[in-house]
Assembly symmetry: C2
Homo-oligomer: 160 residues x 2
């Protein structure tokens, strides 16, 4: 049950002319189970069921799956790249500047939002929106912390 998946990864790999390996399946299972995971984190979890798996291989696998479009890669500031299997729809992400937590955010507008910038000579293909804010927990923590710390000396943006 540790490798239960909802999608037919084996089939998708086949259609992309890729061999179906334990490593790829393990990585895909972990990414599906824990969206917004870093390569390192994925390796750690995958090694529970596949101890010989190396981090380097995870990088290689993820890079390949990414070029295939089977995983999406997001690169929040001050964080290693994160991966998710939810591709195809163009949803966006909100990162908590306190704890680094990442949440999916559906399009503000129903369809591709902000895809018509006011002024540019480029032909725009995609628009990634990265929201930054504070999650519930961090907001609570911050307000209590503010009463404890020196009030007029805000700590530098030390987010994760």
């Amino acid at each position: 049950m540790s490798t239960t998946t909802t999608r037919d990864w084996e089939g998708e790999l086949h259609t992309h002319a890729r061999r179906v390996t334990k490593q790829r399946l393990a990585v895909l299972a972990v990414v599906e189970r824990f969206p917004h995971s870093s390569a390192e984190a994925i390796a750690k979890v995958a090694r529970e069921t596949l101890p010989a798996l190396t981090v380097q291989s995870v990088y290689v696998v993820l890079a390949d799956l990414h070029t295939l479009g089977m995983v999406r890669r997001i690169e929040p500031p001050d964080s290693p790249a994160l991966y998710e299997t939810r591709t195809g729809d163009n949803h966006h992400h909100a990162v908590c500047t306190g704890c680094g937590r990442v949440e999916d955010v559906d399009c503000a507008v129903g369809h591709t939002p902000c895809l018509t910038p006011s002024s540019t000579t480029m032909t725009i293909r995609i628009a990634d929106v990265l929201y930054r804010g504070l999650c519930r927990d961090c907001e609570a923590a911050q307000s209590t912390e503010a009463t404890l710390a020196t009030p007029n000396f805000p700590s530098p943006t030390n987010q994760r």
Copy 2:
């Protein structure tokens, strides 16, 4: 003339209780002159007028100026962080997936766009939109290249 600036950096540094040093002024002048420059690139240009300046110092200066809000830092995928002096307005950026060129893009909507995501429990502070597309030159280059290369085997996203 190499250090001509339009803004009163000296004054701004003073109001932020920072000492006015050659290094800071040099960095600010370069960032103002060449927006969307990397730390390395900034160091290279700044060294023309201040040869002893080290890259590490540029990193330190930029980090500090960033926490002060005097420079804005953008982190395009597959690129080192880039810096610009245009702060305060919330404009966005378009990166060319061909050559890595970065252009400023004013808000699609007149005011803060997409600041009301449909669903999230976070308190959103800012929304950075990153457009990706092809600039004129790369679009031209790509179409001619397409006629030369194997047509049905698109090269992997090798963007800079």
